[in-house]
Symmetry: D2
Subunit: 288 residues, 4 copies
Amino acid sequence: MSCFQVRTDLALEAREGIGEAEREIHGVSVEESYDKKNEIRVTRVVIETKNGAKAMGKPMGVYITLEAPGMIEPEEDYHQEISSALAGQLKSIIPDAEKEQSILVVGLGNRDVTADALGPNVADNLFVTRHVVKEYGKAAYNKSRMHMVSSIVPGVMAKTGMESAEIIRGVVEQTRPDLVIVVDALAARSTKRLNRTIQITNTGIHPGSGVGNHRNALTKESLEVPVIAIGVPTVVDAATIVNDATSGRMPANLTELNNMYVTSKDVDYQVKQISHIICDALNEALEL
Amino acid sequence: MSCFQVRTDLALEAREGIGEAEREIHGVSVEESYDKKNEIRVTRVVIETKNGAKAMGKPMGVYITLEAPGMIEPEEDYHQEISSALAGQLKSIIPDAEKEQSILVVGLGNRDVTADALGPNVADNLFVTRHVVKEYGKAAYNKSRMHMVSSIVPGVMAKTGMESAEIIRGVVEQTRPDLVIVVDALAARSTKRLNRTIQITNTGIHPGSGVGNHRNALTKESLEVPVIAIGVPTVVDAATIVNDATSGRMPANLTELNNMYVTSKDVDYQVKQISHIICDALNEALEL
Amino acid sequence: MSCFQVRTDLALEAREGIGEAEREIHGVSVEESYDKKNEIRVTRVVIETKNGAKAMGKPMGVYITLEAPGMIEPEEDYHQEISSALAGQLKSIIPDAEKEQSILVVGLGNRDVTADALGPNVADNLFVTRHVVKEYGKAAYNKSRMHMVSSIVPGVMAKTGMESAEIIRGVVEQTRPDLVIVVDALAARSTKRLNRTIQITNTGIHPGSGVGNHRNALTKESLEVPVIAIGVPTVVDAATIVNDATSGRMPANLTELNNMYVTSKDVDYQVKQISHIICDALNEALEL
Amino acid sequence: MSCFQVRTDLALEAREGIGEAEREIHGVSVEESYDKKNEIRVTRVVIETKNGAKAMGKPMGVYITLEAPGMIEPEEDYHQEISSALAGQLKSIIPDAEKEQSILVVGLGNRDVTADALGPNVADNLFVTRHVVKEYGKAAYNKSRMHMVSSIVPGVMAKTGMESAEIIRGVVEQTRPDLVIVVDALAARSTKRLNRTIQITNTGIHPGSGVGNHRNALTKESLEVPVIAIGVPTVVDAATIVNDATSGRMPANLTELNNMYVTSKDVDYQVKQISHIICDALNEALEL
């Protein structure tokens, strides 16, 4: 048995870590759908009981995974298909999606590290409306009903000296949104999921997840508003890969790998593409 | 008389706007010192009474201006002289500078607009310590006494949908610093002050100041902790220049200038240099 | 009469500088068309004779101007209309547009100055194909006919120590493209054209034009291949504005304005929008 | 025996790959010096014969390696010690270092990928003088003797459609420098060398080296001027690490690792620090 903690931020992978026989976990329901034309696979895992949560090693809640092998291909029309599919899933998980509300989008991660810049990229390009609606009313957009959207990039602890969670809690207390949506780059267990899987969950962000290893939770409990998290695996922990390749017998001299990650050589292009997809999906989902 | 409001963020210029005869304003004291070798001029204006505040059009408080013509020359040794002089002035204005305290540095402005990126540049490069001291104690730095420094770049309203002041108030409430230091790019009235003048004040930031025109105040009253503001004029309002050149008879068809500013062609280089100077000065001033 | 040289990079404005009576210039033909639905106005000025060139102060050639007031509005569908209109105009001016050829796109300007980053933004996001076609053939794209597209951002002289023209000449000699397309931010004479006008010309870039004031020409004569220039006014010379406002009597103490420019406060957003439009138009126009 | 090609860009590591017994390679001389106070180790490997080149798997020439464990610590004074040591080594390897000459510094790599941005960072911040000296003479700097320094960031093939080597050859032919200095991020074999080792060589850049895997050579043969390369390992090939950990038995399902690399989690900070060190060293070494 390995004393090395295998790490994954993906519910899909958590389930794969479980043996074939145990796949039918009590308290966990799984639904799959496949859009053949666009090669988009959507898996909806619902962890309904505490037992299910224990078996999966994830909190109770809904985990939607959207997989599309062509996510990083340079085809704009195809991106729009993925964006629309993602927007649909987002709407399905936003509480009272049809009710006018105030929504804060948080772009977690470090904008100076390419693989970790997904959240900041999305937040930077989002269509925000809160300040205009507050100042001029919905009429400024010729709308009778609309959400008020705001966004923030809190930065990472090494640069701010603060937990992201401290900053976000402060902003939430000041601006009182009805919903927080957090976008973050994740660590996957397997390189084959990198940059072609998007995960949405209504359980928020839990300690130890994300490329930057945010230590404090961003959840309904900690923020006192519902929290939806959108994550994309952009890296694999270096230690995880070696651990897997050596069947858990990672050489002692490689422990420094714990502070390293594996990423694709064209990570800049891939993160840019996926940021666009998520940004477009949010703009679509957050329009009434 | 012009109905166009001439705008300046510099106390020094506010005083210049006043006629020669009235220069000796009651309730305003002015001290100048000049470092001949380094060509650094320091002017310390103290507005001591409400009358003085009214005459100057600025709140009561201390305004220190450091002028150095060579601020943007590419000479690193000289930059260190300016940094040290600035650090000295900062220490003179920080309340209980010798007492261990927690200090939040705020980089105001838009990192995507070169002339407005001064604050973000400084905050991004600052030496922050709060997270390390909180986790491992001062021993991590081999120190027995030290400040805890944190920093944030709140972003601009057009991108976040929130006032900078809302974000900062939230962060201050969560992390309870003893002092806030705000760094911002300013608008000057005259092109001759651009990028060679640094202003420090203990009155904070007031509505309508700054390149990005932050509308809410960042002051001791609004944040409930002392606020020091460091500002550098990097732009001149386009309307101000035309207004001056036409002796207040700005042609009606130029009103769109109100949404424009004038900046130097090598603004990127100049803002980079001054960001370094201020960042070094803060690192020096915030070390016990 | 003013001794101050009024500067404009726009053929449209050059014509406006000429008195009403002389508008019918011999050797200059002008055609206008207006797409009412999309509010896109296209003006095609052809300078056919040396006399016309002298009268206009511009070299002989075709100058197409596309004006759309909504260019900087955040509406993606509308952007696609402008992109397509621009792509059509580009195709009309590319020599032998239907013949397979090798095309080098040059992004002039300084990526660190927001108003001057238009060219680099476009080049960074362009779909380049030359390296793939050279290595794997057109089959890699499932095409039987296609252009080979390459791109370069030469940087500005203050950072490279070289004229952009020196770098581009070197790249052209090494890679022998059939056509060079140069994208650059321009200086306009009037703030009303800022960020809503795109100019295309088959005369290339001439000394003294552009935000960064490139001193060497990029023309068919200097590069020995046809050169198309795409330009968007993103700044106005500060001196030009004051000169106009004072009817040519610019105060002597404002001569330092010669090294300054006027730009819009949300220049970052506007340049980003227009970069996308031009990039999309180029991708469309350069597809066979 | 492994059929997987272990890759390293470091001469020091090439030598480590050779068994203890064979360390005394004929035709290869090795000198070490150690600055105890600053903990800087300098190793000078000279490959003097074709046999030596074969044994080392590297071309004949001088390879200087400077190792300093504290290279990435946030201590500016210490950085100056490393910079000065590096400047001294650079001067020892520049042909006719005391003769006035024209020097082109090339920043290889992709500025949008943090680990690969070392070269662009150095080039962007270098003190370039060629354009000023050409226009105004050395008097502009109050000097009677000085080099003319220029710099370029060619970009990467995925974005330009051209080999870096094509661009550089073109620039060299146009501007005729006496010396080319190339700065590039390298791949190391071992994580323990990451971001604390700087290698200088007078053999230039050879196919297949660097993070971005530049395929064409940049050597005296290809450019017809001497080429010095400065490299810092910022990544380890993911496949190399797994190959080592599994003693050459990399699982077949990990072949996709060939397109991945391993990097440190605070790669942004480390690359920034080292870019400063190299930039300062170049500025010092290129001053007469």
